[in-house]
């Protein structure tokens, strides 16, 4: 053991003499671990939230009975089933508006609630009396309490002025959900003796067949391991994971570069240790132990950094998930022990993977061959051909996935293979470009410039690969976001065509407001609207009612339609489908669907497809009058107004004053658009932040590679200094060389990035969200990103160059002394 410790001490002494190398190694590992674990923390937080949602009284993790047409059914069925031995418990579900915001209201029956319904027993059976007896209790998550803006124990009122039970906080609950006793829920929702579903508990008792009690009115829904929310948000998390993985690999590039150089510099030391009697087995074991110790240290620091990254990104991620999928994720980070252990493990595994080549060389190290400090660079050149062949294979794989693949995962596989291929082919492309430069060079210094750049290439290639990937991802994602942004703004103009939007507290108030508005000269039109929930092919969809008005005809964002589409809509037997629904169910214009409605199935022909960005659900748009006819219960509280622009502020002020409406209940078009844009920008702020992190890590990779190379390059530079090139001129040449290879790499990253953008828009987005955006190129943005990449390269190159310019002549003379 003491021998191993002594050997370890000697190995560690290398880092003491080369602190910058150690810093490089640790920075690489810390960056890799931090970004990876940060992203994993966000994913874990979101998944915990989905679990909470799923566990809330009959999420998809519980078996249940629902009506065939997904509407409510008589409470008597519950009584009949209980008597027949079915361990069922009733749930009523609906929505309630409080302060202009909509909340999910769940009514439960705590006595019969199955014990295995996750958090249910804790919630339902604590203080049963106060929960059930009037005025009862309304259980909410802490986040919901904060959202409501009132204290625990107080009683909120709904928008239709119903006094709700006192609030009680239950941390297990998902935000946005209100839980009350079933009797209270039936009163609030005005659905006496009706229930939404029956949860089924586990029981081995004999029970009569379902059909013999409920006929064909109910169907059994088996529990599902993955929730709808998880399925919906998979793409978002896959996207985050892909970014985390990319950053992780960029970090490992740094580690690989640092370890490779350290290994070459330590070769003489390793041989001396062997000559002094340290066995190969001990030397290798100690090297692995050294690496694991460093990875452990870096992993811990990386985890702390990852925590802060996740904490800073979480509000934006939560906003994205809420905006894109309606998923409620708490804004406060809470992590499980597995996250910490996984972070440490990934750091150690990453370090071992990055050091694998060096460790393999060390294991095969012959004691007698003299040290060759540049041998690794020469060896890298032999890999050039192999790398290029591997790159072509990766491109072929990308093509294969693009051609044959038909899933989100295959979309990401295309991206991964494309980027891997591009990274692998980069050294060969640079080698050819530099060789061409060398061939065309005239003056001696120019010839040396190109030749030395080629020699330096192998040492820089990993960092340049990192730069290529980071910049390509930046270009790709920025192009996608910009394309999305511009399309979104045009779409928003179409969707938000009314000048003022009103959301009345109830139908009575809505009628009152409309009557008042009809007498106002500045109001040019009142455009009613409404929506109902329905199921199509087992999928929840929205049915949107559109008034037959010129504003909608002129502005509705139709992607494709029959020429008489709007006229057909007015007839009540046709609909428009949103893009995501048409893709998911492969519906085209002319297809017919049967929409389940309370009065029976509603046959509709699809006469148009419209863009509906940001909506996770499928949606059909029908004529408003037809909607109210088939869904009579649809609230008619929402409507838009056409108003002369200059009269908007005064009208809103008067509406608020006269009818007691707040900012959420009445808003003008400008405010609505600004809010939508704010949500949109927030949705992509996480992507932008990860983009910036990745580019930053690539910059660090370049800096560390240049710093570690700086010392080994002195033997090449000292002879030039000796024959008359000043240190300043050498420094300028070095800077120029770095910038030249960075420029070539960045220029290659632009077309690659555009390819990534196309892939994201045409493959990944379509699979993830169900809509396809037009591909556009934004030259100014590309120039901007090129500038940022070159600025990062310049910053990375400056420090080693300044050190060279200021280097004492004695340091350069020592090169000759050492080579004696």
């Amino acid at each position: 053991m003491r021998r191993a410790l002594w050997t370890l001490t000697v190995l560690l002494s290398h880092w003491r003499r080369h602190p910058m190398q150690l810093a490089t190694l640790l920075i690489g590992l810390i960056a890799a671990t931090a970004l990876w674990s940060g992203v994993q923390a966000l994913n874990q937080q979101a998944r915990t939230a989905y679990d909470r949602a799923a566990a809330t009284f009959g999420g998809t993790r519980t078996a249940m009975l629902v009506s065939r047409d997904n509407t409510s059914f008589p409470q008597q069925l519950f009584v009949d089933l209980r008597r027949a031995g079915w361990p069922v418990s009733p749930v009523v579900e609906g929505r309630v508006q409080i302060g202009g915001r909509s909340y999910r209201l769940l009514g439960i029956e705590p006595v019969t609630l199955p014990g295995e319904v996750s958090t249910a027993p804790v919630i339902g059976r604590t203080d049963l009396q106060s929960f059930v007896a009037p005025p009862g209790e309304m259980l909410v998550a802490p986040e919901t309490l904060a959202d409501l803006g009132i204290k625990e124990g107080e009683r909120p009122s709904s928008n239709d002025r119903v006094l709700l039970p006192p609030l009680r906080v239950q941390p297990q609950l998902v935000p946005g959900v209100l839980v009350v006793d079933i009797g209270i829920a039936q009163q609030i929702l005005k659905t006496p003796d009706q229930i939404s579903r029956l949860l089924i508990g586990k029981s081995s008792a004999r029970r009569a067949p379902l059909e013999s009690i409920a006929g064909d009115r109910l169907r059994l829904v088996e529990p599902n391991a993955e929730t709808d929310l998880e399925r919906l948000t998979d793409s978002f998390h896959l996207n985050l994971t892909a970014f985390g993985l990319l950053s992780f690999f960029v970090g490992l590039f740094i580690v690989n570069s640092a370890i490779g150089l350290a290994f070459e510099q330590r070769l003489p030391m390793l041989r001396t240790l062997r000559a002094c009697g340290v066995s190969a087995r001990m030397l290798n074991s100690v090297q692995v132990a050294e690496l694991v110790s460093l990875a452990l240290l870096a992993g811990l620091v990386g985890l702390v950094c990852g925590y802060f990254i996740a904490a800073s990104l979480l509000p934006d991620v939560a906003a994205s998930l809420r905006g894109l999928y309606g998923a409620q994720v708490p804004g406060q980070l809470s992590l499980k022990p597995e996250w910490w252990l996984a972070g440490i493990a990934i750091s150690i595994l990453g370090a071992l993977a990055a050091a694998a080549t060096s460790l393999a060389k060390a294991i095969r190290l012959p004691v007698l061959i003299s040290a060759q400090p540049q041998a690794w660079q020469q060896a890298q050149r032999r890999w050039l051909m192999f790398q290029s062949a591997a790159a072509l294979a990766a491109f072929a794989v990308a093509g294969g996935f693009l051609w044959f693949g038909d899933s989100l995962l295959s979309g990401f596989a295309v991206l991964a293979a494309l980027m891997l291929g591009a990274a692998l082919i980069l050294p060969m492309v640079l080698e050819i470009a530099l060789a061409l430069g060398q061939r065309s060079a005239g003056r001696q210094v120019s010839v040396w410039f190109w030749a030395d750049s080629r020699q330096q290439l192998s040492g820089l290639s990993l960092a340049l690969m990192a730069l290529l990937l980071a910049l390509a991802v930046n270009v790709g994602v920025s192009t996608m976001v910009e394309s999305f942004s511009r399309t979104f703004l045009v779409w928003l103009d179409g969707r938000l065509a009314a000048d003022v939007y009103v959301n009345a507290a109830d139908d009575a108030q809505a009628t009152e407001i409309k009557a008042w508005l009809r007498g106002r000269s500045e109001v040019q039109a009142i455009m009613p609207g409404g929506r109902a929930d329905a199921q199509l092919s087992g999928m929840p969809i929205e049915v949107l009612g559109l008034p037959d008005q010129a504003t909608f005809r002129d502005n509705w964002p139709l992607l494709d339609s029959r020429s008489d589409g709007w006229d057909r809509l007015r007839g009540g037997d046709a609909c428009f489908a949103n893009e995501q629904l048409s893709r998911r169910l492969r519906l085209a214009i002319g297809d017919r669907i049967e929409l389940p409605a309370p009065g029976g199935n509603w046959p509709l022909e699809i006469v148009g497809i419209y863009a509906d960005y940001g909506n996770p659900k499928g949606q059909v748009a029908v004529n408003f009058a037809a909607l109210t006819q088939h869904f009579p219960e649809v609230p008619q509280t929402r409507f838009g107004l056409r108003v002369a622009p200059q009269a908007v502020p005064a009208l809103i002020a008067e509406l608020q004053q006269r009818f007691g409406l707040n900012d959420r209940s009445v808003a003008d078009q400008v405010t609505m658009k600004a809010e939508s844009k704010r949500i949109f920008n927030r949705t992509f702020s996480v992507t932008s932040a990860l983009n910036a992190f990745t580019l930053g890590v690539a910059g660090v990779a370049l800096l560390t590679s240049l710093l570690t190379l700086a010392n080994s390059r002195l033997p090449q530079l000292a002879p030039l200094w000796a024959i008359g090139l000043t240190r300043q001129r050498l420094a300028r040449i070095e800077l120029l060389k770095t910038m030249a290879v960075a420029l070539i790499t960045s220029l290659l990253a632009l077309p690659l990035g555009l390819l990534v953008a196309w892939c994201l828009l045409a493959v990944v987005n379509v699979k993830a969200f169900g809509w396809r955006l037009p591909f556009q190129v934004f030259p100014l943005q590309l120039v901007e990103l090129l500038g940022v990449a070159l600025a990062a390269a310049l910053l990375a190159a400056l420090l080693p160059v300044i050190r060279l310019a200021r280097m004492q002549p004695a340091s350069l003379i020592r090169i000759f002394a050492n080579e004696r």
């Binding site: 003491r2 021998r3 002594w6 050997t7 000697v10 002494s13 290398h14 003491r16 003499r17 080369h18 003489p268 030391m269 041989r271 001396t272 240790l273 062997r274 000559a275 002094c276 009697g277 340290v278 066995s279 190969a280 087995r281 001990m282 004691v367 007698l368 003299s370 020592r814 050492n818 004696r820």
Partner: protein, 246 residues
């Protein structure tokens, strides 16, 4: 005894065969080389470097091994040190046959019984002079502070202990290398052209120190050198010519 039984090469110990190799009579042999052959394959053909070398070195004896470039001097030294394996022949070091040892056994033998000095010094650049000096004796668990102190004094390294190898002259580095090799009190000191990088005066000084310390420890000393003048200062001279002892 516990220490001895932990050494794998002890288990393979066998009686040495006495051979006539010009060894100084009276002292026990620490090294016996018999019929050693070694060839390398280069450019498609076998090149025989050693063609049957016989050699012995006794405890306390210093032997100079001379010969022209490419005669196989360094190869012979590497084989004796267990850094490479012979094709044919036997090397017995302190009664142990090297051919029967694996990598771990040969490493243990180098660590505990041999001192190696190279032309290129081969100090560990990231360790100070003090740490370089004690490194081998510590991993051999034969660190003797008094002996260490004496070595430092005799080698004139007292003022250089905190320096790093790159801050030393060639002569100073070689003195550290000799100190490191002798610190564990080896049975045999092997030196491969230790003065090859030094000027004549420094070379004389370094070799004198080495001879002095070898005499002080009573170990065997096998020096590979080009210099007939330096070889003449040792007890015995052997010339290697075309792969055999001339």
């Amino acid at each position: 005894m516990g220490f001895l039984t932990r050494q794998p090469w002890i288990l393979t110990c066998r009686p040495c065969r006495g051979i006539d190799s010009g060894m100084a009579s009276g002292n026990r042999p620490v090294l016996t080389v018999t019929g050693l052959k070694k060839s390398y394959r280069s450019a498609g053909e076998d090149i025989a470097v050693l063609r049957g070398v016989n050699l012995a070195v006794a405890a306390g004896e210093s032997v100079a091994l001379t010969g022209e470039s490419g005669s196989g001097k360094s190869t012979l030294l590497h084989l004796i040190a267990g850094l490479d394996a012979a094709d044919v022949g036997e090397i017995i070091l302190d009664g142990v046959s090297l051919s029967e040892l694996g990598d771990a056994g040969r490493a243990a033998l180098r660590r505990d019984r041999l001192g190696l000095v190279f032309q290129q010094f081969n100090l560990i650049p990231s360790l100070t002079v003090a740490d370089n000096l004690t490194f081998q004796s510590r991993i051999a668990r034969r660190h003797d502070p008094k002996w260490q102190e004496e070595l430092v004094e005799r080698l004139g390294l007292a003022r250089l202990l905190k320096r790093y190898p790159e801050q030393l002259s060639g002569g100073q580095q070689q003195r550290v290398a000799i100190g490191r090799a002798l610190a564990p009190k080896p049975l045999l000191l092997l030196a491969d052209e230790p003065t090859g990088n030094l000027d004549e005066d420094t070379a004389d000084e370094v070799l004198a120190l080495a001879r002095d310390l070898v005499a002080r420890t009573g170990c065997g000393f096998l020096l590979v050198t080009h210099s007939a003048r330096l070889a003449a200062t040792l007890d015995r001279q052997i010339n290697l010519h075309a792969g055999v002892i001339a």
